[in-house]
């Protein structure tokens, strides 16, 4: 028996009569890097939003470690260990890199409502925060404001922040979107590195990334599951080739 960490059962989402996600049954195995791909408008982001409770499903079920979390609140979900990072690089621009990471750690101290305490009580967390920054090669930038970081580093910072929350399951929405080639390489390696002992579900258009590090790929089209399997299986599937990869040789090699 495979160890399934996240499972959806006939998950659907409708927007005013338009079905963006249609009866999706997704199974994510523990320890995998699982990619969700598909043509534009296939419903990948919507799917993510359903999993992280930014949207409420029209029907269907979401199970996390066997528990039904379909109607659990977003904050609660993240406390259970499902953490998402965003499609557009999203950091707290006017906090330092260190503070950015610390915000995530701070929650577990349970003092976040303590408006009478000094912020210095948080310095106990600095060590752990620095360790996380080191994991993504950002320790040199600890005192830099996030807004001043180069683009690729912001991504790294975001991943460090996400790691700080000790996720069991990380959801990454197009982690390499809009990045130059060098950064793509760095971030791909980073994802591979941090996947140890965790499960990662990501949306990605860059086939180099997908083929390089993903254990399993699910292809969505028009809201429904089109194909599933390893990169080799999926990339040879004629339906996927037609709907997504395109027909020429260039496409099979990956567009980027």
């Amino acid at each position: 028996m495979n160890d399934i960490i996240l499972e959806t059962k006939s998950l659907s989402k409708e927007f005013k009569g338009f079905t963006a996600v249609n009866n999706v049954n997704l199974q994510v195995e523990r320890g995998h890097i699982h990619a969700l791909i598909g043509p534009n408008g296939a419903g990948k982001t919507t799917c993510f939003n359903l999993l992280t409770k930014f949207l409420v499903p029209t029907s269907g079920q979401i199970l996390f470690n066997g528990h039904d979390i379909t109607s659990t609140a977003p904050a609660q979900i993240s406390r259970m260990g499902i953490i998402r990072s965003f499609q557009i690089s999203a950091v707290f621009p006017h906090l330092t890199t260190l503070e950015n990471v610390r915000i995530g750690l701070q929650r577990k101290l349970n003092t976040s409502f303590h408006f009478w305490k000094s912020a210095n009580t948080l310095s106990a967390l600095n060590e752990r925060a620095m360790a996380l920054l080191a994991e993504v090669d950002l320790e040199k930038f600890a005192d830099t404001l996030a807004v001043d970081l180069p683009y690729g580093r912001k991504r790294a910072l975001e991943i460090a922040t996400t790691l700080g929350m000790d996720p069991e399951l990380m959801l990454l929405d197009e982690p390499t979107q809009g990045m130059g080639h060098e950064d793509v390489g760095r971030v791909t390696a980073l994802i591979k590195k941090v996947s140890a002992g965790r499960t990662i579900l990501m949306v990605e258009h860059n086939m180099n990334v997908v083929s390089g590090i993903c254990d399993k790929i699910s292809v969505l089209q028009r809201g429904a599951m089109l194909a599933e399997g390893s990169y080799d299986e999926v990339s040879k599937n004629p339906l996927v080739v037609e709907a997504y990869m395109g027909t020429t040789d260039v496409a099979l090699a990956g567009e980027h």
Binding site: N40, G41, G180, H181, E182, G185, E242, G254
Partner: protein, 249 residues
């Protein structure tokens, strides 16, 4: 396609360049982004700006359109000085701009989006609506839906299609392959080739080198708000090592 004027401009150094930028400086607020950018695009050419994130490629296009905070230097479009003109007047020199994030209007239907940009050229005739729908059949299918309800790829097509109508002969295209499925990227590539055949002048900003490489006649590489390298398509092979270090391609 009879309505299309069969102008096929041959790149020639005798004719006036479609776009000529010299010593361009640009600022966003206090931040000095472009330092001394020089760039020439001849009529009928496809030119690609390469560079890392934040190198200033988008800013270059925006500076041409007058959409930055402050700029100085010289910009000539079809031989006319543009640096001191208001943005809308620049468009009327025959420029079509496709912005970084597509800029589809959600309060307008697909067809309204398509018809929005006014005709900017007195002499040039753009494509007719019929021609555009012929080129992008999916747009025709969804012409009455709200613009932003389209999928990402369709939005991108719409963003390009709407500037083909206006008679603009100089197209500034910013990252049109961004975030698109490979199959759609290929379709866009074919579209660019068609436009090139029809004699449009195109300046592309691209992250996706493999998409841009077969399309462009010439390349400019930007770094820190400056042009650091320029070469033609024929030199591409020998420049690969350089590009590797500059862009990590």
């Amino acid at each position: 396609m009879s309505s299309l004027s069969p102008i096929v401009a041959v790149p020639s150094f005798q004719t006036i360049p479609a776009l000529n930028i010299s010593n361009l400086q640009a600022w966003y607020g206090e931040a000095h982004i472009l330092h001394n950018v020089n760039l020439t695009v001849h009529a009928g050419e496809v030119v690609t700006l390469l560079g890392r994130n934040g190198a200033g490629r988008t800013t270059t296009l925006r500076a041409v359109m007058g959409l930055v905070g402050k700029r100085s230097g010289a910009i000539q479009i079809m031989g006319k000085d543009a640096i001191s003109l208001a943005t809308y007047k620049i468009a009327h020199l025959g420029v079509g701009y496709c912005p970084e994030e597509r800029g589809i209007f959600s309060s307008l239907s697909v067809e309204e989006n398509l018809l929005l940009p006014p005709v900017v050229s007195k002499t040039e005739k753009g494509m007719s609506i019929a021609e555009i729908y012929e080129m992008f059949p999916n747009l025709y299918e969804r012409r009455n839906s709200q613009g932003t309800r389209l999928s990402g790829g369709e939005q991108q097509m719409l963003a390009v299609a709407r500037i083909l109508r206006t008679g603009a002969r100089l197209l500034l295209l910013d990252e049109i392959s961004e975030g698109l499925a490979p199959v759609i990227v290929q379709a866009l590539g074919r579209m660019i080739m068609t436009l090139k055949e029809k004699g449009y002048t195109i300046v592309m900003v691209e992250q996706n080198f493999r998409f841009a490489a077969p399309l462009a006649d010439r390349f400019y590489v930007m770094e820190h708000g400056q042009i650091v390298e320029t070469f033609s398509a024929t030199e591409l092979e020998q420049k690969m090592p350089l590009l590797n270090t500059l862009l990590g391609v």
